[in-house]
Symmetry: C2
Subunit: 311 residues, 2 copies
């Protein structure tokens, strides 16, 4: 089952050095989640052949233009493509006013329904909960209200070990084992978890943290995620400026990754001032080796972790 992140935009503030503004797509099975939507996101979606018909949820972190100015154009293009399915948009208070005003002046009546959820920037909350995953918010430390997003797969079932004769087990008993409970008959354990199952695969998790100052209060929310995207607008020699502008350095992003014990860090939201991004990567890797730059068009797969055992 795929759990794959595609970077559509990696720059902060304005497009520059062939880099676009913040936008990412997370794909989980047949579902597409769009995270932030800077200007030109619909072109990037088309360039990288994202299957937009599968898009059902859009998450906007905050109302700085580089994170949302592509949204109205995208909604309009979905409409032109004759979309009929409901769309779920999550964003800060005010985004609904902005969308409504554009629709009013362009005299557009969308052929599909947009369900808009206003995010609470102070208190983390679960905003999506379906068969596949749970999406919750992470309060960011930014100049204006801003939330990060945690995407976490639902817990999986126990796996049946190969090589056992299961023909004597009923359908219900097999489901009992899969749910992590040994099968008892006549008050005795007849089929133990140890003999008959492998523990479930670990649910994968991705955390998107942009934009934010260095702030350790986010660590409990992102602890041990497989993949963390943390903004790294500046190099560490600009940490004073980062603080003033409510942003982070690459080193600070790496420190968060280290302290939160994540598996992999993606750096992004790069300042226009950096054409060459290698220094940001180097500085992050000094702190947290498994750091990478967000490269547009790049797909990052999170593999299922077998807990060291064959399935």
């Amino acid at each position: 089952m795929s759990f794959e992140l595609t970077i559509l935009g990696s720059n902060s503030a304005a497009p520059a050095h062939s880099r676009h503004q913040s936008a990412q797509v997370l794909r989980l099975e047949n579902l597409i989640f769009l995270i932030d939507c800077g200007e030109g996101t619909q072109m990037q979606i088309s360039r990288y052949r994202v299957k937009i018909s599968r898009l059902k949820h859009i998450f906007i972190s905050h109302l700085h233009g580089d994170h949302y100015l592509g949204l109205v154009g995208l909604l309009s293009t979905l409409n032109l493509r004759n979309r009929k399915e409901d769309l779920f948009v999550f964003g800060p208070s005010g985004l609904d006013d902005i969308i409504t005003m554009h629709l009013k002046y362009t005299e557009t009546v969308l052929g599909y329904k947009v369900h808009f959820t206003v995010l609470d920037p102070e208190n983390p909350e679960i905003i999506v909960d379906n068969d596949l995953l749970v999406v919750s918010t992470i309060p960011m430390d930014h100049r204006i209200p801003c939330t990060g997003f945690l995407f976490k797969e639902k817990p999986r079932k126990y796996r049946l070990k190969k090589g056992n004769d299961l023909s004597k087990l009923s359908f219900d008993e097999i489901n009992t084992l899969k749910s992590g409970v040994p099968v008892q008959r006549d008050n005795q354990v007849k089929y133990s978890l140890e003999d008959y199952t492998l523990p479930p695969l670990k649910p994968r998790a991705y955390a998107y943290c942009s934009d934010t100052r260095y702030n350790e209060s986010i660590i409990p929310y992102i602890e041990s995620v497989d993949l963390l995207y943390h903004e790294s607008t500046f190099l560490s020699d600009q940490e004073e400026r980062a603080f003033e502008t409510f942003h982070s350095s690459a080193r600070q992003a790496a420190n968060i990754a280290l302290k939160a014990n994540v598996s992999k860090l993606i750096l992004g939201h790069f300042s226009i001032r950096y054409k060459n991004l290698e220094p940001l990567l180097s500085e992050a890797r000094e702190v947290f080796a498994n750091s990478y730059l967000a490269i547009e068009g790049q797909k990052i797969n999170i593999e299922l972790d077998n807990y060291g055992q064959e399935a």
Copy 2:
């Protein structure tokens, strides 16, 4: 003196086939005029190295997203680049509300002043009048209020013929000749226009007509312009659909060019349905031979016409 149009976007409705939404830049000497501003215009400006610091006037024809959704991002990027000079924006009623709402929610205070002029979509008016040119509006026939724009150079002075001895003329007398009046002394014509001058070079004119149905009422405004951009969303087999959606076919655009006796026609605002644009060009050229497709990145120079005489 340059009078040069650069096509930044040529597509209608949504970006497709590597074509962007409506945006053009007209350069006259050191002045840059931006005409419409679809999503991604700031990227196109950067790609085609338009000297954005010279931009002083932006004209928005109407409030369909493909003509204005790049504006707020552009204003924001000009601000990031530390612009201080006033900017003059002309557009339909409502565009000011949209800009104001975005600035409010993004908590942005621009470091430069935006002078916004609401256009009257019914009555043509002069909206810019400076040393170099006059810009006036042309009422379009579209589903929502929409104006075209006519850019016309100011009349030039008479040119002094070479080879004459002008040493006996005073400064005032030379200016008299240049203004098209013969110099008289003792109630006699001493220096005739015929002997001493060539007529002024013809003021160049460019008309932007998008979006609009086929409507001959625009002809008086665009009569004899050097260059006409007329939308041609469809092929002529879709003229019924063009009428319903308040657009034109390439053949209709060519008919307007012919009837208005313009020198050159640029077709644009192409429907997503056409990947290959050659059929639109062919059909226009059957009616008006000097027709061309709007190609992004293309620069179209309007040369000064010497009226067949050497300067």
